[in-house]
Amino acid sequence: MGGNSGKKISLNLKIYRQERKGIKGKMVDYLLTEVSTDMSFLEMLDMLNEKLIKDGEDPVAFDHDCREGICGMCSLMINGEAHGPEKETTTCQLHVRKFRDGQTIVIEPFRAKAFPVLKDLMVDRSALDEIIIAGGFVSLNAGNAPDANATPVPRNNAELAMDAAACVGCGACVASCANASAMLFTSAKISQLALLPQGKVEARKRVLDMVKKMDELGFGNCTNEAECEASCPKGIKITNIARMNREFLTATIAANN
């Protein structure tokens, strides 16, 4: 089956446990044996939970849904990296074969003031929705749209917009940023819409509103370290942040003119 199928390894897990929102948590050690290397990382956690349930303990709560790397619901800091060590890969697509027999794996929730922990590894990332609510849309009501081919869009712009639109909103950029900044997330949406004629109309208002909201929510400031880009499972580039900065400056200078 998989390239190295049938192999079983043991893992020392060090997992952050927090019983409920607003209280202090702690790191807890678990030994998990007979882990198939073909398992996905989350299937390994499923296995741990199955064991915990059998032992009458509370299973580890973590967010996940599609398990195919697209919904953005899975998170986790794995050995100090958002979504673990594999490049451009979400936690759900990470596999146990990337770890050694006997390795210690530290698993923590994504941390930021704007991402409070709900339980164990589960965090509240609704702050990202708040940023979109501030302006991450085109004000078009159903029924108003002209024919889809009425406005041609240069292919390159469409491609760049798609690159930015690939963001899954997982929050890895915030988690991996030394400053818990949400600039990459915010800029991805601003870029996508600024690159397309349909989004151009309200581009100025959008960037001012979204940046303001982002700041209000308690995210940190960008120090251009690019850890966000490095940890982004969808390869969103920091050139989007540069574009957002440009958009912001032009919007500010041009405001009310």
């Binding site: 199955e50 919904c71 596999h95 849309f137």
Partner: protein, 640 residues
């Protein structure tokens, strides 16, 4: 029996005029009055999100519920391939009529003609709407929208955004929703799961939802309830659905009197990554666009353990190309899946388990070069390699069918209203448009059609045609539903057995896949109907849920869903048993042609089977809605 309880309310007139006539005849709600209505929408996938934003734009107050932490996570996001529309931009002979015809035929003549025609009609508006929202569809060098041919269609009518079309369409709908959250017309209630439907005077007037963060049960009242909660494919445990995808909302509505139509119609998708072991928690689909360039084969020899590269050309059986020379690898999903199962059952399957077939790009790479293939399918190849640790550029991929979509769902009339007044059902959660088999790139189309362009008209008509007494959540009906939900969760918590919900779910999944899967027969279905109640009994006696109700409790959530699957599975098996014909995704081994093709029985089964709940452990009643075909000529599907 043909039922007078089922009035599809199909408008009069020629098929191409029905929808326009219906819109014209529909009553309107005065713009100033719209703000007096409140609508509950459960689910924020394509159907739910598009309905929420459009209804809010019109002025209704919307409460939008989703099970995930954000509406953007709904599983529509995972659709890869594309969305169909009859734009005919490529000038290759497409039309609304052809899309309609293809969809009815693809559904093996088990869909309602009028609904499908309307779907084809509004398909073009969807593309306009999405482009307007800033969905970055693929474009050619002139800046115009690109199309591809997809999943058995002979015209290029599929619009796409790389391999992430579902994601982009959902984010488009989500952004429209967020616009209305800002305007104050939508309130998002995330991390909440509907646990009861509340009826007042026989109309759907609210829901009880469990707050998944605090564990509290919450009451919400409204003037209408819309369910857009997707399919119930997770009844098989392993499917391409997301982990939290479930059938509980529609099943609990079914228990309140909404008829469940064609529950046995499930689609098995042919191009999934095979199972790697018992730890498997879900299956991952690869876009069937892969079949455009990949060739499917197995060894001609049984039990061939050679590596694929060691199997010479003359020992390879490109079985789809051999059996279906004109469609080849592009036959519809059900045909491709069934043939894969057949060659594997024949002992010719690939891989250690023998449960997979090869999907080979060797010839495509030779013809177009690795770069072209990489550009087209690079992300899919990467995904395959990440999961299997095998490099698809070097050797063939292995694929196997997996449960993917459920065509069945709550019965709805032309207005998308269920048999419960005021309960509307959209998207995959209803049964309406795909008959017995859904064509590729049509799910996105249906979800958005229902939400953007159909429900805004039909819901208005419902409001304008009825009088609504003011109610609030102090009403007795809410208290009763609340108590019922509380009892349900308490009962689950007090079992204190030994097995996890997941473990029991897996057991159910094995039975379902074995007996209610790709090939079904009377003996197998009867076996399933005998087995499922036993698993149900095991569940209610031996379930173990750690933790407490008043906190995040993932095990309790899962248990609630599995409890419903354990009942729904039986309904699916019963429906499959009753439908003694093969059609689309429903293949009864007793009903096949000499060439092993699905054989329909139009004389006896040209109808929708809609099941009416009768109470716990009582056999539900099977109603029929006869299907008449005036505009499509019925034929035996043939892809030879």
């Amino acid at each position: 029996m043909s039922s007078n309880k089922l009035d599809a309310k199909i408008p009069e007139g020629p098929i191409e005029k029905k929808w326009d006539n219906h819109i014209f005849k529909s009553k309107l709600v005065n713009p100033a009055n719209k703000r007096n209505y409140r609508v509950i929408i459960v689910g924020t996938g394509l159907a739910g999100a598009s309905a929420a934003s459009t209804l809010a734009e019109l002025g209704y107050n919307v409460l939008a519920f989703c099970i995930q932490d954000s509406p953007r996570r709904a599983h529509s996001i995972a659709a890869q391939g594309g969305i169909n529309a009859a734009k005919n931009y490529p000038n290759d002979g497409d039309s609304v009529w052809r899309l309609f015809y293809d969809t009815v035929k693809g559904g093996d003549y088990r869909a309602r003609e009028a609904n499908v025609y309307r779907l084809a009609q509004v398909s073009n508006n969807i593309i306009d709407q999405c482009v307007g929202q800033g969905v970055p569809f693929a474009r050619d060098y002139g800046g115009y929208l690109d199309n591809r041919s997809f999943g058995g269609a002979q015209v290029s009518r599929t619009f796409y955004a790389r391999g992430q079309t579902g994601q982009q369409l959902l984010l488009g709908a989500y952004s429209s929703m967020m616009k209305e959250v800002k305007s104050g017309k939508i309130k998002i209630l995330a991390r909440r799961e509907m646990v009861e439907l509340v009826k007042v005077n026989n109309r759907a007037r609210g829901i009880i939802a469990r707050n998944l963060t605090t564990g509290e049960l919450e009451k919400y009242s409204a003037d209408a309830v819309i369910l857009a909660t997707g399919g119930y494919g997770n009844a098989y445990y392993l499917s391409t659905n997301a982990m939290a995808s479930n059938g509980s909302a529609i099943y609990r509505a079914y228990k309140q009197g909404a008829f469940f139509a064609n529950p046995c119609f499930t689609q098995i998708h042919p191009t999934c990554i095979p199972i790697s072991g018992t730890h498997q928690s879900k299956l991952t689909l690869m876009s069937e666009s892969l079949r455009n360039d990949g060739r499917i084969w197995v060894s001609k020899k049984k039990g061939d353990t050679r590596a694929p590269s060691d199997i010479p050309e003359e020992d390879r059986d490109y079985y789809l190309e051999r059996i279906y020379p004109s469609f080849g690898n592009l036959v519809p999903r059900d045909v491709a899946s069934r043939n894969a199962k057949k060659v594997c059952d024949d002992g010719r399957g690939a891989g250690a388990s023998g449960l997979s077939v090869y999907l080979d790009f060797k010839d495509a790479i030779k013809r177009d070069g690795e770069n072209v293939i990489k550009e087209k399918y690079g992300n899919l190849f990467d995904m395959y390699e990440r999961i299997t640790d095998e490099n698809p550029y070097r050797g063939p991929m292995r694929i196997y069918p997996a449960v993917h979509y459920t065509m069945g769902g709550l019965w709805v009339d032309y207005n998308l209203m269920s048999t419960i007044e005021g309960l509307f059902v959209l998207g995959e959660a209803n049964f309406s448009d795909h008959g017995a088999n859904r064509l590729g790139a049509s799910a996105l189309m249906q979800g958005l059609a229902d939400g953007y362009f159909i429900i805004p008209y039909t819901l208005g008509n419902y409001f304008a045609s009825n009088k609504f007494e003011k109610i609030n959540t102090d009403n007795n009906a809410f208290t009763e539903a609340f108590d019922k939900a509380q009892k349900f969760f308490n009962k689950l918590m007090t079992i204190k057995g030994a097995r996890s919900a997941e473990d029991i779910h897996k057991q159910l999944g094995r039975v379902m896949w074995e007996y209610v899967g790709m090939g079904r027969n009377e003996a197998g279905l009867k076996k399933a109907i005998a087995e499922i109640p036993k698993i149900r009994e095991e569940f209610w006696n031996n379930l173990k849920i750690p933790g407490e109700t008043n906190n995040v409790n993932v095990e309790l959530e899962k248990a609630g869903r599995v409890a419903d699957f354990l009942e729904m599975a039986e309904l699916m098996a019963m429906d499959a048993l009753e439908r003694k014909e093969s059609c689309g995704g429903h293949f009864r081994e007793e009903a096949q042609t000499e060439e092993n093709e699905a054989k329909r029985d139009d004389a006896n089964f040209s109808h929708v089977a809609a099941w009416e709940y009768q109470g716990d452990n009582k056999t539900p009643i099977r109603h029929k809605e006869e299907l008449t075909f005036e505009d499509v000529k019925i034929a035996q599907r043939s892809y030879k």
